[in-house]
Symmetry: D2
Subunit: 355 residues, 4 copies
């Protein structure tokens, strides 16, 4: 469908180049495909290998002002070697050695941490020390100061999720250094934010203004586990509770609005009953999953991958995925769905069950 | 400022009457006062007297289809003998004898129950049995079927709050009978709604559509008490947490939105530290308080009333009120504030602290 | 279903009276009917008779500070002689003699004026003079100062609509006197608000904050007429445009939100093609219509009324109504629908077309 | 701040590469700068040169199915030769020869056209023919079918704006071919959408559901010009109307919400009085301006550019810009501000006026 390559056309194309012009007709198919054709590819990262590299980094790389964090970013093989797990999302394993402190800073980028194993680190968010334990989701929304310190004699690792690629791509980032130490080395069981906000359906009268991101900086495993357990029990009792047969799931929300915890990142937790197979699903936007417990198989764009605790994988936009759970299978998920929904690009396709 | 009473004017006024006309100039001051001048008056109802009348009703008045409920409505002395505690709100003590059942029905009116003492009754809301215990707030939002049954050999009483006066005045009510018995006599500790929804900040993926009223039918005392306790502890630690010095408070919310539990009724719980005196406050709209625990004094439109557990009082629109707590003083409150806010009539005036 | 009248019961009822208690079981049917059973009744007021009384008032009753307005309120025959056209709405004819001024004031109540005939008066809203001409809707939202002056040697009359009954009933009103004269006697064709805001789909960058009520104080007949004319033309061309066959209609909106012009009052204009008969309709909430042009019949709760220009009628909650248009039939309508919708009491029932 | 290059570190980095891992500490400054440091650069494209290239393309390149559009995309010199005017926005000049048709298609990407000169083309949006004339803004929101045809014997060119870079980067695009011809060759003065929706403050009752994008496909110059003219007149009368002294501006809005016309693209029109100099301004997100009329200078990141009718320029994120108007100076603007606001990344800095 391209015009004939005449001298006149070549001259025209030369003119385009001089004037910083690119014609649509030479690149329409790439720019405007019939459905999303991501450069990002599905990929699985194995936790034991990640952890090993993180541990080695702990020996070789200091943490402190400048580098700021000992974080290893998952680099999607389709995205040219940048530490982008998808075009919008950053996922990393972060490692803090015994008694180490990662200094305070803040940035426009939204961030969270999820803990698949270990304990002993507190993240201090706007001065409020937040314990990090297995199964917890911890938030550091945009422009909140935060630093971490390890209060024990052992190391600890966890995953970080951020919207760094989106922010970098769209030139929205700001960054500021804070204290070189964390501002409060206390190690309380519960942060002040939780003490104010982690009461189901109850809102402090001192907090009636809705906030862009959740005022609750920690979502504890005990609550997540209880919610999922109840969904499966209710399902057994014949009640509507699960998202589909054998598949319990919760979304982490901002209690001031009932919406997502941060403007760009959705966090969820999924639990599959042993033996459950989920239908193939495609969604606009990208997701990262981490196995929290149990074993199973993810079929990702037609390829099966066996997963165990800690393993991470990315689902690029419109790539089909489905689970088969060998045991009870628990997975943490985060995605860019709030971006897609707020900008009205969200679409979902669920494969019909075979007869 | 009225025109002279001439024969011509009398003839004109006669014409008005024939044509169902009333001139503004004869009634402007009453219709459009410089500030709200409610017909409703401040009033206190003593719990021991209410409970005694309710108990006598239990002996003399059956509960069942037709009368529907053994409920004694608080009738504001300024509102002409109708069972209106204010122009918008209904408040009643309801009494259920041993093993009695109040049959199921539903209505457009929004309702809740709050339990100041006793236990042993389950309210069944759209088929979901909900335990009622001291300190609990239980919802039956508009058009939800509900009935109650007493599973014990003792009586139980509680308060009901509804928007009956508002609904009646504005002709919005619908009513339908349901089962003559409750549809489920099970007596679980926690309702299915709680098992799905009472996990702080967590939302089931099976419940992503926002609802007009809360999907959580019970707000348990253990959570309310913990939230208030933490606010006062945080205040002691020098942290912002209370609504004003010595005054902890929570609002009950719909977890799908962070807003009020029902479209017309706000529910809150307030705890004052012993010795706390609150500044005089006036608000557009009316409120009802019930003492849950402790003792203190309410100054209501300039008159002091000593209050003990169970006592109820109404604050009409723009009447000034303030508390003085003798002990730790716990009060449940409900009001028509969502009406005022949604229609943009809300105003508040807080007296400045004396120097 | 009432308990037997024993001495004990009489003693109990005596106790209720002493304690300001009214039992639910004696009044349930009245308080909570199966559907709305308004005290307000359907009623028609004839414009020629209203205008005649207004003109007489012009001779006998001064306008000025104190009485404030020479306004004759329509008093629903079911509402006990108060100037309430419905439980929520006030409707009046207001009359201003040659060169008269109605002084400025403001109130929490929301108000509008609609002009069925005449011209020559300017209403000055927060200092902005707004011309009043046939077919125009003019707003004076809550807490906006407003006064009127007649710039001609003839009288002028129009209708006022307000939420006075709602405000009075619920004790939300505030009132303040302003200038005894209007603050600006200029007589521009278009108000400043129109010059800023009456450009379709265009919003001034100086007005990016959404407002509770419309910033546009005048909706001109030329626009309303054009919109309705186009809807009927589009219908003739086979395009979806009308609300039902032969029935064009627009809603007046706040351009900052696309929603109703004021928080409590909806304004609409309806045009029926000659010969159109609309299906019977019931709605929760009350409406007032005024015939602007043409002739037809309204069937209101089963009774037919013939209507000509200027005639007004009220439709109480849940009373069935339908139109039959003899000529092209133009009607202005206002209602309390925003109250019903914001508080989630709205319901509509439309009679199915007979076969 | 980088760790010492030891053999162990090299081995570690080798491990990273094998496992598709990139450490944060090697790239923090690039990924998370202290403020946005866009790759995109400020750039000006001269209309006469663009038009000349478009005209030559008209001679050499056919328009039709496959290439779809004869559109020349502005390629930001900092963005590696792709037709991205900024990381989020596409801007192109499109050219249609006499009697040509650009076939129908639809895509998830949002699009608009703005006409700086010429007439005679109709764009057919979801079957509704929309005239394109000088000064008009025409919308084709995501997933609306659209094609264009030239009804005259002369050529016509205009600019297209889309969110192609954003959509491509984030893998959200869908695309579908429609009719090879436009579905309606009628050439009405006003589209059906305008006839329904272009009445200030009036909403058809057949269109009460809010829409993601504006239902109004054309914003006519006559309205834009009138709105800006009135703002400057009001300013002369001493009234608040302009966004700053000598600077009138409107935003194009969706009349169902009062918000932006499409979820990802904001459109505005600015008029500066001759002699006006605007303060330096930085904003998160990128904008494209086109001069519609008059002459002036834009200072863009410290460099002055003289501009005449048709000239286009891009302002990357956080680059400072200010205008100096030699004549009355009219500019059309579009930007990705809705993305920044919906995701809460928006920030603005305005230089204080020098004393």
């Amino acid at each position: 469908m391209q015009p004939e390559q005449t001298p006149a056309l070549r001259a025209l194309y030369q003119g385009f180049e001089e004037e910083h012009i690119v014609p649509l007709w030479t690149q329409l198919g790439d720019l405007m495909p019939t459905h999303p054709t991501p450069q990002a590819v599905p990929h699985v990262w194995k936790w034991d290998r990640l952890y090993d590299l993180a541990r080695q980094s702990g020996d070789l790389v200091p943490v402190g002002r400048g580098g700021e964090r000992r974080a290893l970013g998952l680099a999607n093989p389709g995205l040219g070697g940048r530490a982008y797990v998808s075009p919008t999302l950053w996922a990393a394993i972060q490692y803090l050695g015994p008694r180490e402190t990662a200094p305070e800073h803040r940035h426009a980028q939204n961030a969270f941490r999820f803990v698949v194993e270990g304990e002993g680190v507190w993240t201090v968010v706007n001065g409020d020390p937040v314990r990090m334990s297995r199964g917890d989701l911890l938030l550091t929304p945009g422009w909140h100061f935060h630093g971490h310190h390890n209060d024990t004699d052992g190391p600890m690792a966890w995953i970080d999720g951020l919207d760094i690629p989106f922010s970098h791509q769209n030139d929205v980032g700001f960054f500021e250094f804070g204290s070189d130490r964390v501002t409060d080395y206390a190690t309380p069981n519960y942060s002040r934010g939780e003490r104010l906000w982690a009461h189901p359906g109850l809102r402090p009268l001192s907090g009636l203004r809705d906030t862009v991101s959740s005022p609750l900086m920690a979502y504890r495993w005990e609550h997540t586990d209880a919610a999922l357990t109840e969904q499966l029990l209710l399902e057994e009792e014949g009640q509507p509770a699960t998202v589909e047969q054998g598949h319990a799931a919760i979304r982490y929300t901002n209690p001031t609005t009932g919406g997502d915890v941060m403007p760009t990142i959705r966090c969820e937790f999924h639990r599959l009953r042993a033996g459950t197979v989920t239908p193939g699903r495609r969604e606009v936007g990208s997701s990262v999953f981490q196995v929290f417990d149990g074993e199973g198989v993810i079929t990702l764009g037609g390829t099966e991958h066996r997963l165990v605790q800690g393993d991470l994988f990315v689902v690029p936009s419109w790539v089909q995925w489905s689970f088969a759970a060998d045991t009870q299978f628990d997975l943490f998920r985060f995605s860019d769905a709030p971006i897609m929904e707020r900008l009205h690009f969200a679409r979902t396709h669920v494969e019909e069950a075979p007869r």
